[in-house]
Symmetry: C2
Subunit: 354 residues, 2 copies
């Protein structure tokens, strides 16, 4: 895919000498010399920026009067490296996207690392480097962080919690309660790619087509959408629980009905086949680089065209609309004619998918 | 101690029926119905506030023009319940304190929970309730969050990452590089209480005096200090690595020497005895409700008196000063006469102390 970053390690070596420290030790999270080494040799040079540099208890930045968005997500994905990305890229893009879904321009990120003792030092470095590349693509700075190490067997390689702060432009009012009858529902592209990529790796499945996570920062896409219309009502990235859960949450929060058409939903042949083999409904499978937008009908075409001009929205389509009937419920018209209720996911479909 | 909160469960029962769900399941973090239940029945009513209510991807709040502080910390403490607190209280107070150490008034917190499958539901609820009580005492709102559940054996009961945003008043310039020769160094009270309380529980030690964590929010204490002097140079809460590590970091960041007097450092008999039994140097043991302040000599007495007027600073003393000699090094004059270099902690003294 266009713009899909790959971490480049050519000519680079881990800044902590792996002959001395091949694996992360408990002391790397202990607050003493080894912690300082990790911060000064690995994190500071990689995330380098003026706000991180003082290594204060927090970062300080100036703001203009207005509205800020503030968001957090913890990432526990297994495996930590997968086709199309890794836990670091996912953690940066995920929080960037949560802010973008508030209509905010993401500015600053914090990173909390919980490392299992024994993680190869080079794996940590690859993740850190990937976070910085993702931050760079999204145009955000990682300004503060924290590192903890837990004993072997008390964690699972690496958990990352990112939080972020962004600024909302005057006039933008986007939220899950704002869906209105008549709104067109736009989906930015092919669904279920992230979840299927992860499950394929975990199950050891090989497919003809390489299935990759769609992890991507959506803030620039949202920016071009807002330039096309300031009247966008709802934005949501359908991550855990997939498109079905996201639509149900919005239908309930806005107290409206939602109808979608099965044949409009972009689904690649590769993902469709993998879903059949894995026994998964793609509507419930996680995405990490897609968004749903609820737009008043008058502006829908302009927003759609704006999305298609951007690499992360080039496959955008209108998949449904908001209706007055069946408030709180999502109904899908199937390809063969009938219609069925698309319920909230009950139980755990895909553990540790993000 | 005055103001030390205790979680009160009288007349209350866990809002998730523990007959149905005695333990946290993977599905409670899966993004489906059980996740929604946990959020709507437990988190929303407890953390209740207008910004959390919409359950958006992030919280939105207004700001005035100025400077904000932004901080994060991950908590992996073992055990999660201990004398004087629990992981939830610690996580809220810790981030409140990180913001306060930037000279900021803490406003909003985010919470990322990583739960090990099988955690008793009632334990989760006790922690959530404790977080809300701590937030209330500190005067902050928990406005956004995320919950993940990992398989049994892939985590350890509960890890919490809190991030926070606070506002810095005009004229306040506090940072670890700002220590100046002549500054008096004030310590807000008795040291090593948190670390020793945790180690005593872990080692199964019983002492005559009940040893409790000092976990406390320090933002109000900082507020009264700033009312006494706007010229405070550095604030630091000596958590992991203790007073010794905090002073070393400041000496290095500010490129100054630091001298402290051993006989000035407040140390209770109980903690002193426990340190001897456990073989720990109290200067390196974590505190969770204490601060170090570097204050120009002209303002030191006023700041000290202001601190003593507050419950969390009533035992404050001047423990040392900033000198031009030995830049980057901390020297302690011992009670019996001589002096020794107090080095940075090397290696891991106390794993998972916070």
């Amino acid at each position: 895919m266009a713009n899909r970053q790959e971490v480049d390690f050519s000519g680079l070596s881990c800044p902590i000498p792996i002959t001395d420290y091949p694996r992360v030790l408990l002391a790397h999270g202990g607050g003493g010399k080894l912690s300082q080494d990790l911060i000064r040799k690995m994190f500071l040079p990689e995330f380098s920026n003026a706000m991180l540099e003082p290594l204060h208890d927090g970062a300080v930045f100036p703001v203009d009067a207005g509205r800020l968005a503030f968001s957090t997500d913890s990432y526990v994905i297994n495996p930590i490296f997968f086709p199309g990305g890794d836990i670091g890229k996912l953690a940066v893009n995920g929080t960037v996207n949560d802010l973008a879904m508030c209509g905010a321009k993401p500015l600053y990120l914090s990173v909390g690392l919980i490392i299992e003792e024994g993680l190869p030092m080079e794996d940590l470095w690859r993740v850190v480097r990937s976070m910085q590349l993702a931050a760079k693509e999204a145009g955000v700075a990682i300004v503060t962080g924290d590192t903890k190490v837990v004993e072997k067997g008390k964690g699972d390689k690496l958990f990352i919690t990112t939080s972020g702060v962004g600024v909302i432009a005057p006039g933008v009012v986007i939220g899950p309660t704002a869906a209105s009858v008549g709104d067109k529902i736009i989906l930015s592209g092919f669904i279920a790619e992230h979840g299927i990529a992860i499950m394929s790796v975990r199950e050891g499945l090989e497919f003809e087509a390489r299935l990759e996570s769609d992890s991507a920062p959506l803030n620039e896409l949202v920016n071009v959408m807002l330039q096309a219309s300031m009247s966008i009502h709802v934005l949501r990235d359908p991550t855990r629980g997939g498109v079905a859960s996201a639509l149900n949450e919005i239908a309930q929060a806005s107290k409206v009905g939602i109808t979608i058409s099965e044949d409009r939903i972009p689904l690649s042949e590769g993902v469709r086949g993998a879903c059949e083999i894995l026994g998964l409904d793609p509507l419930y499978v996680a995405n990490e680089g897609k968004l749903l937008a609820f737009v008043p009908p008058a502006d829908a075409e302009a927003v759609l065209q704006a999305m298609r001009s951007h690499p992360y929205g080039r496959d955008a389509v209108i998949v449904g609309e908001v209706v007055a009937n069946h408030p709180g419920t999502v109904v899908m018209k199937s390809t063969i004619g009938g219609s069925r209720v698309v319920d909230m996911l009950s139980g755990e479909q895909l553990p540790r998918i993000c």
